[in-house]
């Protein structure tokens, strides 16, 4: 029997106030080492912390509510003591540990218990191999989410973490680009738990769990005792190594932070945050599937809040399956090519709907619509007016298309022979030629019908 629990650390995505937690130094991931520092975040003697960054507190509250936690409204920062080179003060300021009430507790997300969510400051970046320390990161606001040991496999952890990150991205609470750091606790067959520290990607977390399950199994098989301890993150060969015996809360000597007042969460702040919380992604997936979407389309559309909400609005006026096809395939292709997020493109939703209505009514071909969609990401215009002005409306008149079909048949006799010999692909080739001649405006179904008709007619004549 395997039990796995996670302690997930994520960088809070600060949008309004890009300041550190207890000082006004900027949050800038790409700055030169040790250039965004001040006496406060480097723990110089005599320095005192500023009040905590209000936006960081709000983000942790939002995360706690999204994970169905009970929120504590009286919060006390504590000093968590340890003496590594990454911690200039000798203690980390955190809303966790003995005597504290975490920001959120007793939550649940996708059947996994959330023990607590709390806010804390990040230590510096320290490379134990070289000894180099960069204090730029010292004091960044971090959220720590601690789960109950409810996981039973690495695959379950992987899927859950991916879903969690999507959920937290919905409320723009955690910076996805900055990644996550995880402490992974693994216990097999009721042996004491072993912790693997600072595992920094989902792939590495999966490898660490599988490796630790194997290691504990091998240890027991060879007659060794599994004891509670902390191991290093996996090295280049995927191996973890003994670091130290497991700390307890006592080892950290938690004491209330005397330089910070009690953090009171006003009821109206909590209510206003609750009102802004979106529907959770996994609930959107269920809703989209009920609208007729395939599981994969539903999952992809729900993976980004802007995309999911755009789909919901478009699907109110367009057939949901058609809307899903265009947003999930064509729009995402354009968004990915732009290397921007959907919300950064400034798309006019009204014009997207107008374009898809024209597709639904077969007023333009898919080919022309795809071109217009690309243009809509570059500038805002009415697709309907543009199509009328440029004469891009679909050509469905058989006499017009018949001329084009006959021309293509006359110029591509070898493809005609291939088609007659049973090669269906040859007909697609001929269709492509007609579409090109019509500049993408020919109605594909009509073209196909006319080509078959004309080829059959030619054969009868012969």
């Amino acid at each position: 029997m395997v039990k796995i629990g996670l302690e997930i650390h994520g960088y809070l995505a600060m949008n309004r106030t890009r300041q550190k937690l207890f000082c006004c130094c900027p949050i800038a991931a790409d700055a030169l080492p040790n250039t965004i520092v001040c006496p406060r975040c480097t723990g110089q003697p005599g320095s005192k912390p500023m009040l905590p960054n209000g936006e960081a507190v709000e983000k942790v509250l939002a995360c706690s509510l999204m994970l169905d936690c009970t929120v504590n409204r009286k919060l006390i920062f504590q000093r968590k003591h340890y003496d590594w080179p990454d911690l200039p003060k000798g203690y980390q300021m955190t809303i966790s540990g003995s005597y504290s009430h975490p920001v959120g507790e007793h939550g649940s997300y996708l059947d996994i218990g959330i023990r607590e969510c709390h806010l804390e400051e990040d230590p510096a970046r320290w490379d134990p191999e070289t000894g180099l320390v960069d204090y730029n990161r010292s004091g960044y606001p971090l959220i720590e989410i601690v789960t109950e040991p409810d996981f039973t496999s690495s695959e379950q952890v992987k899927l859950w973490l991916e879903s969690l990150l999507t959920t937290l991205s919905y409320i723009k609470a955690v910076s996805r680009n900055a990644g996550i750091k995880c402490d992974v606790n693994v216990s097999t067959d009721h042996h004491p738990r072993v912790e693997i520290k600072n595992v920094n990607s989902i792939r590495a977390i999966v490898a660490a769990i599988d490796g630790e399950i194997r290691r504990q199994h091998d240890a027991v098989t060879s007659g060794e005792k599994v004891f509670s301890h902390t191991r290093s993150p996996p090295d280049a060969h995927g191996m973890t190594h003994f670091m130290r015996s497991k700390e307890t809360a006592l080892d950290y000597m938690f004491i209330p932070e005397p330089d910070l007042p009690v953090l009171h969460i006003p009821e109206d702040l909590l209510v206003s945050i609750q009102k802004t919380l979106p529907e959770k992604p996994h609930l959107k997936v269920v809703k989209f599937q009920k609208m007729g979407l395939s599981p994969i389309d539903a999952r992809i559309l729900a993976s980004d809040l802007a995309l999911a909400e755009l789909f919901e609005r478009v699907a109110k006026v367009i057939n949901p399956i058609l809307a899903a096809k265009w947003l999930r395939h064509e729009l995402l292709k354009v968004v990915n090519a732009s290397e921007k997020a959907l919300h950064e493109l400034g798309l006019d939703e009204g014009y997207i709907i107008e374009l898809l209505q024209m597709v639904e009514k077969k007023e333009v071909t898919d080919q022309i619509a795809a071109q217009l969609l690309l243009q809509l990401t570059e500038k805002s215009f009415s697709p309907r007016a543009y199509v009328a002005r440029q004469g891009l409306g679909i050509i469905s008149k058989e006499d017009e298309l018949g001329v084009l079909a006959e021309k293509v048949i006359a110029e591509n006799q070898s493809a005609v022979k291939d088609y007659l010999a049973g090669e269906e692909k040859a007909l697609n080739f001929l269709m492509g030629k007609v579409m090109a001649l019509s500049k993408g405006k020919a109605k594909p179904d009509t073209v196909k019908m006319l080509l078959k008709q004309r080829i059959a007619h030619g054969q009868n004549k012969d």
Partner: protein
């Protein structure tokens, strides 16, 4: 007094303190200081331009703008 002896004494004091601390189930007083304001409002970032160079000048050893600290000390 040599460094090792001071370190041993310091560890002994801390260990004793830990044992006492561990016996406390509940603190006999209300924790934390009360103040009218407990969160910082939104504001612009500030950089202390001279501080970085002063800090690095005072460091015993630097490399690539980083302070060189202990290696492999967990």
């Amino acid at each position: 007094m040599d460094k090792t002896k001071i370190e041993q004494q310091a560890k002994k004091i801390m260990d004793e303190f830990l044992l006492v601390l561990g016996k406390i189930d509940q603190l006999p007083y209300e924790l934390g200081t009360e103040r009218p304001s407990s969160m910082r409002k939104d504001g612009a970032t500030q950089t202390d331009n001279g501080f970085s160079s002063r800090m690095l000048e005072n460091a015993p050893k630097i490399k690539d703008n980083c302070i060189v600290a202990e290696k492999k000390k967990w």
